[in-house]
């Protein structure tokens, strides 16, 4: 495929052409002085000056709350009907390489033997247009977990910014290639004889020196570390169990299934939940709780990222987006724990 460009000034044209056909175009926007991925209808709504938005594509593929069935309780009978979804064709514009690498993570969980079609139907309808990072903040640690700021994993197209504020388009997947072809009046080649402006440098995210992934892997692999309660207790001491890290995390997948309604009917919903909540694993009757203290719950989350995911799937448990660090009200930094464990 020949090289193509996307000019920022043409984004509105692309959005209109795409959404005009019933599609949904999601991009980073500025909202209350914070960056969120939201549906947009013009290029003017998009913000280009961002690092990692507050929310992630997780909200799109695995909504925070969703109705899976409706039930009606009649005098003589109960009826239940599943909710079918038909998600629109969606462009997820501006996904960062860390988030894009985590698409495979959620897919692993939701297709592990049992296929959760609420997830797969949405993912199959979504085209991810990644944008390589030209800036990072102190919380970014993608390179420490094996992701790069211009990595293409999970993106269908990867855009790289030029000094002039336009994008050079790398076609990553066949689907991405078809998309470029479909809108070939917008994805244009370099103008004949026209000057191609220089590329903005990709940000350098240094690998954290104190973190040794092999050591973390070995430490977690050996069940003996479960006896080191004092160590875990110390590392997770600050955690107050708010669960904000899990809601922001693009690979956290825990959920609850609950009924909401009246005596005559209602909805069965699948809602985000978090392994950090104290009632998450409590047994009914007697209240036995296998993860009865906060450090055990925090340990579970850490192990999920660096032991369970790697053991079960080929996808990553942590992609280094840094949301859990930015959002933590007590500044419990997962990379500091990675450093602590690397020194064990």
């Amino acid at each position: 495929m020949s090289e193509s460009y996307l000019k920022k000034e043409n984004l509105t044209k692309l959005i209109e052409a795409f959404t005009g056909g019933g599609g949904l175009f999601i991009a980073p926007t500025l909202e209350d002085r914070q960056i969120f991925y939201r549906p947009v209808s013009t290029g003017a709504e998009i913000t280009f000056d961002y690092i990692v938005p507050k929310n992630s594509h997780k909200e799109l593929l695995f909504p925070q709350t969703e109705v899976v069935a409706n039930y009606a309780i009649g005098k003589d009978a109960v009826d239940v009907e599943g909710v079918e979804i038909d998600p629109p064709e969606t462009i997820f514009f501006g996904i960062r390489p860390c988030d894009a690498a985590s698409v495979a993570s959620l897919r692993s969980v939701f297709t592990w033997d049992f296929i959760d079609t609420y997830y797969t139907k949405r993912e199959e309808k979504t085209l991810f247009i990644g944008v390589a990072c030209t800036a990072a903040d102190d919380s970014c640690f993608c390179t420490t977990v094996g992701v790069t700021p211009d990595g293409s994993e999970g993106s269908d197209l990867l855009l790289k910014e030029t000094e002039g504020g336009n994008y050079l388009v790398d076609v990553v997947t066949e689907r991405g290639g078809e998309f470029v072809k479909r809108f070939d009046d917008i994805f244009i080649g370099p103008e004949p004889g026209g000057a191609v402006d220089g590329m903005k440098p990709i940000v350098d995210v240094p690998v954290l020196e104190g973190v040794d992934r092999e050591k973390i892997h070995d430490f977690l692999k050996n069940t003996d570390h479960y006896e080191k309660n004092a160590l875990w207790g110390e590392m997770a001491r600050k955690c107050m169990g708010c669960g904000a890290c899990t809601f922001g995390c693009p690979t956290c997948h825990c959920f609850d299934i609950i009924d909401e309604g009246t005596a005559f009917g209602g909805e069965r919903r699948k809602n985000w939940d978090a392994c950090q909540f104290d009632f998450f694993t409590v047994h009914a009757g007697g209240g036995h709780n296998p993860r009865d203290t906060q450090y055990k719950r925090w340990r579970n989350r850490f192990m999920c990222k660096f032991n369970y995911y790697p053991n079960k799937f080929t996808s990553k448990g942590c992609v280094g987006c840094g949301r859990c660090i930015r959002v933590c009200p007590v500044r419990l930094d997962i990379t500091e724990v990675m450093e602590d464990i690397s020194q064990q």
Binding site: V80, W112, T117, G266, N300
Partner: protein, 279 residues
């Protein structure tokens, strides 16, 4: 029901309710959809999610035997929101069912062996499924011994079936209640299950042991079985943890990286010993 919706339960009607104890009931459930009724199949040890619509779902094993077709049974203690809503239902009412989920007891591999079932309290239902499964093809096995105990006589479940097993000439039933739990009429033993088990001293030779009970009982039963010469691959148990989905996604029931709902709930004691001490 032709659907790809993992979360959609099938409807089942309560055909019979038995009061097992003061807080424990059994339902006999028949699927509303006649096709489902005929085609539904499961293996002993598998479980399901039972809905009381409006309150949600609760997880219990399928307590009936896969050899008995056309219906399923479940037994539950009224201890939580969903189970108390289920307990309020009457014959003819509708519940939801999702399943069967999880793995099962490898009954076929036990042919020609003696079987030793050990259960405590409300943990008899999962063992009962495999007991009837084996008794319904009794000729394939050698000796069958059942050790069942509860805190008090009032806590024993399936009293009718205990009498049935008692009367069977080719089943050796040992019943016990914890010290202080006996009544004047009690004819069984008095003592904790692991102690009674060791006193009974069943042979480990060519025998498979199947046990389920409260964690503390399982721990001591495994010790007792070790003392009797049982090796780790001769002993099967079934674990439980809080579950919501039943198929390895909701993130609750894991012990380390092992999802009890999907890779369990049935394990050999050797497998349990390899697990994190997290349940």
């Amino acid at each position: 029901m032709a659907t790809d919706n993992l979360y959609l339960p099938d409807l089942a009607v309560i055909e019979e309710i038995s009061d097992e104890t003061y807080d424990t009931k059994s339902f006999k459930l028949v699927f509303k959809d006649p096709k489902m009724r005929d085609s539904f199949d499961f293996k002993a040890g598998q479980f399901g999610l039972y809905s009381a619509f409006g309150l949600g779902e609760s997880t219990f094993c399928i307590a009936s035997s896969p050899t008995r077709k056309g219906y399923i049974q479940c037994t539950f203690r009224n201890v939580g929101r969903v189970t108390s809503a289920l307990a309020d239902l009457n014959v003819g009412d509708t519940v939801g069912f999702r399943g069967p989920y999880g793995n099962w007891f490898p009954v076929d591999e036990w042919e020609g062996k003696s079987l030793l079932f050990i259960a405590g309290g409300i943990a008899l239902p999962p063992v009962r499924s495999v007991i009837w499964n084996c008794l319904d093809m009794r000729e394939r096995f050698m000796d069958v011994t059942i050790v069942y105990g509860a805190r008090t006589v009032a806590d024993l479940v399936y009293k009718d079936e205990l009498a049935e097993w008692e009367a069977m000439p080719d089943v050796n039933l040992i019943q016990t209640v914890d010290p202080g739990g006996e009544t004047e009429e009690w004819k069984g033993k008095v003592g904790f299950v692991p102690t009674v088990l060791e006193e009974a001293a069943p042979t480990a030779s060519n025998t498979i042991a199947i046990t389920c009970g409260p964690p503390i009982m399982i721990k001591f039963v495994l010790n007792a079985l070790g003392n009797l010469g049982f090796s780790d691959d001769q002993v099967y148990t079934t674990l439980e943890n809080k579950m919501k989905c039943g198929f390895g996604k909701c993130g609750r029931c894991n012990v380390g990286d092992i999802y009890i709902c999907k890779e369990g709930p049935v394990y050999t004691s050797g497998e349990v010993k390899q697990m994190y001490n997290d349940f």
